[in-house]
């Protein structure tokens, strides 16, 4: 994998984070509930943070596999369907949406890594998949806090 090819991959990953950042910001602007508004603003900031991390990696030249642990995964995201975005969505759906998006991103990079013959490029995709897995784990933990209430 040459440097240009590497940069292109990371740039696409950065674009993904920017897209997610704007997506959450847009939801935060139209959602009714104040708490959820704040939550989606937080998601947007989190994606901006991911963007910064990837930008820094791009500037350093090469991504290190150890940057992202990707060690933990509950696979909770895999147990739900993608929630629909609505103006009056509930907290569970809101966090579920973010969790599912991280799962989709993780699987995208995992798929790219699986299909890649270039060992260097494969390593980059694997690292990015690990990064998204870390994000997914964080969202799964947040989802666990809200999704299984005892209410009757």
């Amino acid at each position: 994998m040459d440097a240009e090819q590497y940069k292109e991959v990371i740039k696409q990953a950065i674009d993904g984070e920017i897209e997610a950042k704007e997506f959450y910001l847009e939801i935060s602007q139209r959602i009714k509930d104040d708490y959820l508004k704040e939550l989606f603003q937080g998601f947007s900031k989190e994606e901006a943070n991911h963007e910064k991390i990837l930008t820094a990696l791009l500037e350093k030249g090469r991504i290190k596999a150890s940057v992202f642990s990707g060690a933990k995964e509950y696979k909770i995201s895999e147990t739900i369907d993608m929630p629909k975005v609505t103006d009056d969505m509930d907290l569970k759906s809101a966090i579920g949406l973010a969790m599912k998006n991280e799962e989709i991103a993780m699987k995208k990079y995992q798929g790219l890594a699986d299909d890649c013959d270039d060992p260097d490029l494969k390593s980059v995709f694997t690292s990015l998949a690990s990064m998204e897995k870390d994000h997914k784990f964080k969202m799964e933990s947040a989802f666990l806090d809200v999704a299984y209430p005892e209410v009757w």
Binding site: Y35, L36, L39, E73, Y74, K75, I76, E78, T79, L91, S141, A142, L144, D145, V146, A147, Y148, P149, E150, V151, W152
Partner: protein, 539 residues
């Protein structure tokens, strides 16, 4: 549970039992822990050995109060007044956790207005607790790094039980004692598998895992799993509502499993009258209980030692129960009885084991989805456990991230019990348990050794009241309320204060629930078993 659900978004015990050992302060209120939950009490004693301060609040000086650093005896049914007074002192002394309140909660201003506008001395007068004790309670609880609240039916079995629980939630959030190990608001369940029964949808309005019957997705999912086109979407009846429905003729048949309402429910004569009116009463139990004696059909079920399956305990921990002995006589596995009846009614059930049923539960219940019999080997798993990779959840609302988002304070004002003392019925009466017996005594009173320990009912009465009535230990007395009367022996003791009497409810021949008040909390529908007004006369 409704109170915790309103405040936090979930009604379950917030923390695990073992975490109590690491609490700096444990506030026990409305819980006779040493008698009714001895294993929980063991954790509390260990915490005490490690230096924790134990605060006990109860109208009756129960066993664990003997080990308390501070015991506070308040008047029955005045919990909200006492807790508001405690919170007012916390505010006055600037002991509230402002950062937690600001970042993790909402509704604080309303609570603050209520507390600030209340008169501390007036609240102290209502609950009959000195301002000094209220202050000591407030300072000790609020100063702790990790403070846990433990409560039981002394809090919930009131017409304002939900407000009592909301007040405890207020107290925990006010001081930031929630969402960390060793903190929280912890309701102790009344029996070993109450949590499990509720988890399994043994409630009028939910399927397993608290999935509402009124919601389309849950109905569709269960209908598909059970191979039917549709399932009912209306909410069923609570127990008090069932008795009323029998009386008005809208409920014709009742199937009671492992429950003895003739002894456990308030206004017992009224319960008997209702049960006798039912066209068909089926009772499934392990002994011929007072309720079973009224039944048209008795189905002999099995005890815990004769069955395989799972229990879910007070801390949401699902554990295995294993058959140790074969069923006695004609007794059959409860699931087999239900399966056979269902099949004969035309809906065929073909489960071949409790594990097969459990696997269906896990498949339909997101909070149980990661639990299997294999994973339950050992100490079990605490739900939510939504996937096979998940290790279970020791405590809820981590770092102040509540199930509902932000924790909600409720401004709650004191309301008196539904029935208060007067000239005709001048004594406050409260009920509870003694160490030798379990609930309505259907099991423990069949044990010769346990029945020998406490063989009959008794009424605890303060020495001053006994003197005034001219009665001594062991004398018989007639006790009556607006609903009935019973005769019982008395025990003179300063465990209860002047004007208050206590009686255990284990004894059908001196059934104190003939006297208790069926008035219930409007939200939780729990009857006010812990307070009523009675009259005492020499028998």
């Amino acid at each position: 549970m409704a109170g915790l659900a309103a405040a936090f978004g979930s009604g379950a015990m917030t923390n695990g039992v073992s975490e109590l050992e690491d609490s700096d302060v444990i506030l026990i209120i409305g819980s006779n822990t040493a008698t009714s939950h001895p294993l929980v009490a063991t954790r509390i004693f260990r915490a005490r050995e490690k230096g924790a301060k134990i605060l006990v609040v109860d109208p009756r000086k129960n066993q664990i109060a003997d080990f308390a650093d501070l015991y506070v005896r308040h008047r029955p049914g005045t919990d909200v007044a006492l807790l508001n007074a405690v919170m007012r002192v916390i505010l006055e002394k600037d002991l509230a956790d402002e950062k937690f309140i600001k970042t993790c909660t909402e509704g604080f201003d309303d609570l603050k207005d209520t507390l600030v506008s209340a008169d501390l001395h007036a609240l102290a007068g209502i609950c009959n607790v000195s301002v000094e004790d209220i202050t000591a309670l407030a300072e000790t609880y609020a100063a702790a790094k990790t403070a846990s609240i433990v409560y039981c039916m002394g809090i919930t079995q009131h017409t304002n039980g939900v407000n009592n629980v909301k007040s405890l939630a207020n107290l925990s959030m006010l001081t930031g004692n929630i969402g960390r190990p060793g903190t929280g608001v912890n309701p102790l369940r009344g029996q070993n598998n109450v949590q499990g029964a509720c988890d399994m949808g043994g409630l009028p309005n939910v399927y397993t895992g608290y999935q509402p019957v009124t919601l389309g997705p849950a109905n569709t999912k269960f209908a598909a799993a059970w191979g039917v086109d549709a399932l009912p979407t209306h909410v069923g009846l609570t127990i008090p509502e069932m008795f009323s429905a029998i009386e008005d003729g809208s409920l014709k048949a009742l199937w009671v499993m492992g429950e003895n309402p003739v002894v456990s429910d308030p206004d017992a004569d009224h319960v008997v009258k209702a049960l006798k009116k039912a066209d068909l009463l089926i009772v499934q139990d392990i002994f011929l209980t007072p309720t079973a004696r009224l039944a048209d059909v008795v189905l002999p079920g099995v005890s815990f030692a004769e069955k395989d399956g799972t229990f879910a305990n007070t801390e949401r921990r699902v554990t295995r129960v294993r058959k140790a002995v074969d069923p006695v006589g004609e007794a059959r596995q409860d699931w087999e009885i239900i399966q056979d009846v269902s099949t004969r009614f035309g809906y065929e059930m073909t489960y071949d084991s409790p594990e097969a049923i459990f696997n269906e539960i896990a498949g339909l219940t997101p909070s149980y989805a990661g639990i299997t019999y294999e994973r339950l080997e050992g100490v079990g798993l605490q739900w939510p456990c939504p996937s096979l990779e998940h290790p279970g959840t020791p405590f809820l609302h981590k770092d102040g991230r509540f199930t509902r988002g932000k924790g909600l304070f409720h401004a709650v004002d004191y309301r008196p019990p539904a029935e208060v003392v007067d000239e005709d019925f001048p004594f406050w009466m409260t009920t509870g348990r003694v160490y030798a017996h379990y609930h309505t005594g259907t099991m423990t009173r069949n044990s010769a050794n346990l029945d020998f320990e406490v063989a009959e009912g008794f009424l605890e009465i303060n020495p001053a009241d006994a003197d005034a009535l001219g009665i001594r230990d062991g004398h018989k007395i007639k006790m009556s309320s607006r609903r009935g009367e019973i005769e019982t022996k008395i025990m003179v003791t300063d465990r209860v204060e002047k004007g208050v009497v206590f009686m255990p409810f284990h004894f059908e021949e001196a059934n104190v629930n003939k006297l208790t008040n069926p008035a219930f909390d409007p939200v939780a529908k729990i009857p006010e078993l812990k307070v009523c007004a009675v009259k005492l006369e020499k028998a």
